[in-house]
Symmetry: C2
Subunit: 490 residues, 2 copies
């Protein structure tokens, strides 16, 4: 799957300087045109520069970006992760930097440089393999939604690399290059096999690697331009390769929704006592999160008026606001729509020491978006594994995830809707939409059940909570949070 | 202007616990209603918590935010600036965190904490005064555009503060509080005078300080809620105080536009030679920017087809793309429109070591927005000083700013428009709008002249460049950049 571009000696000789200038000018014009077409079509393009060309890379990246309109691209330079990024999953900084629809992201080194460099340093094999998986995941998830990947590897060869490094070092290195890493002139023999493995493992039909093997600067640029054009054009013409959802049969597992006893309740006195005790313990647990290098992700889903908001208010009552955040999720705004649907959730994930409480979540993809037809069947079919992957990655980065489904029956919901309509302070909480959704409960039910079955994982289990009695529901949720945290932080 | 709220002994005694709960519940409901009204009206609100209440602050902030809908606020906690923020002007992290229209930003400590804390540490008087100016500037600029400020100072008094700190420390401090600074129990006598000066100096009609002086938690919350309601309501009812533009007469200074010789030119041979030399020197200068702790802001304005794009391509030809960024500025998008008009420019300013090249800029406020009526006369009248303040602050943070006005005559512009229309590769560069703007040159001219006169400052001078001859214009600009940088970085 890895493609090599290299010219025959004859081809090389044929071109003298003037011819080459003409060729390059023509290609630049085509690249400019391609960019405008991609913009009009809303096609997002990711272009990665990697390779053995330590000192020549900035110049080549510069020649490339100067051929495109600055209105339509962002350049990203990969170096050591910052403090924030260190708290997050390996692929996180790149996921949140994927280009919006219609624009281009150019990576001057990318997640691949990071994973090769770290593996060469640490020799942690399983981390290395996990990260290659994460890279495949990033590309597959985006390719499936229409992102185009052009992965370029510029290889000068060991001898030429050494010659250039020596030449540059004689000239004296520019200060702004101090930060530059990855100058492996002497390490070529050790590192090249790692690159080879990575390229083999991460070349796919929809995101292949292209190795450019040439010593001449202009010819390298010619091949860069041609490769980009050849890679993007099929997608402009709707004949690009994209991953397709392959749905496995459901596990034998039941959602657990049916057997639930909705009538469990708690009297006010017990409720107050238990709540106070749980809030107190939770406060203490929040205190040690950072020390234990963990974070917390809580997801609240459930029927309208099931009590999500009221529970969140009790949950956060004694917490330090510096360490938690409530993220209420509605329909995505225009800017969010220009990204992968998981983008806004990745961006909101907690750092080490923090807690994010999602009032509705990414599960909208397989609930409202599925039922209302905002997502195609291929899209929501893929979502189960995309979501499981995200939650798993967060888990590896230290997140403790618990997901709550608040279940109430239709009679209780009706009663609460009517109460809201009567109370002038609560009228804003209820709208036409709520009544409409209520009438479609039968359509939502299979989606809820499939969600509970397909995304109940060890990393991020679902807890189904009977919510007809508010006191019981709140205490059950706080108890589940506190007990899980006590267990994990012990 | 600083307002003190404190209850009489009688009032205090009147209220027992149950009464208080009822009062607070009522106030919380009103706050919720106020938030919904502010959302509907698109009113942005900034609420600042400062004060002598080290351990009690998180709890009070938490009680406040739990009264409002999480969909409509963001909480910001001020601590030490991060590496990025250290590169930027003092007020920058707060400017970019101002709430969007219709939402609330709550600051758990703010720029005021930073400036008091730093001054107490360093005793740098002039820095301290500059920063108070920056704070006034931030508030005035935002108040003028409709932002509402509620600045709360919670003062327990020295004795009570000491008592609480001792009590908390006996309990053992929560780990998540390790980061907490500003516990001045022992420093009260030294620091309180600084706070007093700051509050006097930064209280204004549209952003007064409110001191809340009470030991009882519930009564503090009551006053917090009441102060917020009293501060925001006038703006909901369109009777809030806002700064108004007071325009000074123009300086005697001329724009310099009239005397310019548009026919200067350069032959191709000299152009090539000079360009190469200048590009080479610029490359070297980029190298030492970081070491010298400076950044570069280049602004390009000028008539359509004056040659901005072509100049930028030559300017960046030999630069390292890791250190520069071209920012092409068009009409603001919907998200940007929900912020202060300078917000998107603050966000794009370069860090130390970097260079940002603005292809059009914030000067749109006093050019296209003025002429086309997108900005009110009060708005563009204020813009001159708002812009001068921003550029001055950037200068203090290390930025070297040069602004270019590319001047061409109408005949040259016509010729270039026609060339663009003929060339299939350049047709996209020209639109109806360009022709329309061209026909309105006489309307734009006074705006251009007033801009050049009012914003030509020592920190950020305008350079007027004759652009009829492209070669001459490009070389003149590169020369101005190189010579200024050589001068500043020497």
């Amino acid at each position: 799957m890895v493609e090599r571009s290299s010219m025959s000696q004859d081809e090389k000789k044929k071109k003298n300087g003037d011819d080459m200038k003409e060729v390059l000018d023509g290609l630049k014009a085509e690249i400019g045109k391609m960019q405008r077409q991609a913009f009009e079509k809303g096609l997002p393009v990711v272009i990665i520069f990697e390779g053995w060309d330590t000192y020549g890379m900035p110049e080549k990246v510069n020649r490339f970006i100067r051929a495109i309109d600055p209105r339509g691209y962002r350049l990203h330079f990969t170096n050591k992760p910052n403090e924030y990024e260190k708290d997050m999953p390996f692929i996180w900084p790149y996921f949140v930097r994927m280009p919006v629809k219609g624009s281009i992201a150019v990576f001057d080194r990318s997640w691949y440089f990071r994973l090769v460099d770290d593996y060469y340093d640490t020799e942690k094999r399983s981390e290395f393999e996990d990260r290659m998986n994460d890279a495949r995941m990033l590309e597959e998830q985006h390719a499936a939604e229409g992102w185009v990947f052009v992965k370029l590897f510029l290889d000068l060869g060991k001898k030429e690399l050494r010659r250039r490094v020596e030449k540059e070092e004689k000239k004296g290195v520019c200060n702004s290059d101090e930060v530059l890493e990855g100058d492996y002139a002497d390490d070529y023999d050790d590192v090249q096999p790692i690159w080879k493995e990575v390229m083999q493992a991460t070349s796919s039909q929809y995101a292949p690697w292209h190795i450019i093997n040439d010593e001449d600067e202009d010819r390298v640029m010619e091949q860069v331009f041609r490769t980009v054009l050849d890679s993007v054009r099929p997608y402009l013409e709707n004949r690009g390769v994209m991953p397709v959802c392959q749905k496995n049969g459901r596990k034998g597992k039941k959602s657990g929704l049916e057997g639930i006893d909705l009538n469990r309740s708690l009297d006010q006195k017990d409720y107050r006592k238990e709540l106070e005790d749980l809030q107190d313990r939770l406060k203490g647990l929040q205190c040690i999160l950072k020390e234990k290098e963990r974070s917390v992700v809580l997801v609240f889903e459930g029927w309208d008026a099931a009590g999500k908001g009221g529970t969140i208010i009790r949950l956060t009552q004694e917490l330090n606001p510096r360490g938690y955040r409530v993220a209420p999720i509605g329909a995505p705004n225009d800017w969010e729509k220009r990204h992968h649907y998981l983008w806004r959730f990745y961006k909101t994930m907690p750092r080490i020491g923090e807690m994010t409480i999602f009032d509705r979540s990414w599960y909208g993809r397989v609930l409202v978006e599925r039922v209302e037809g905002f997502a195609t069947s291929d899209q929501w079919c893929r979502a189960y594994s995309e979501i499981n992957q995200m939650e798993k990655m967060m888990g590896k980065a230290g997140a403790i995830t618990i997901k709550f489904w608040l279940e109430i029956d239709e009679a209780t919901q009706l009663q609460r809707f009517q109460e809201r309509e009567k109370d002038p302070d609560k009228q804003w909480k209820i709208s036409e939409d709520d009544w409409r959704n209520r009438s479609r409960r039968a359509d939502y039910l299979p989606a809820v059940e499939e969600m509970l079955e397909r995304t109940d994982t060890e990393d991020a289990p679902w807890v189904i909570v009977p919510g007809n009695d508010k006191y019981y529901g709140r205490v059950a949720i706080l108890k589940a949070v506190v007990e899980r945290l006590e267990d994990e932080l012990d």
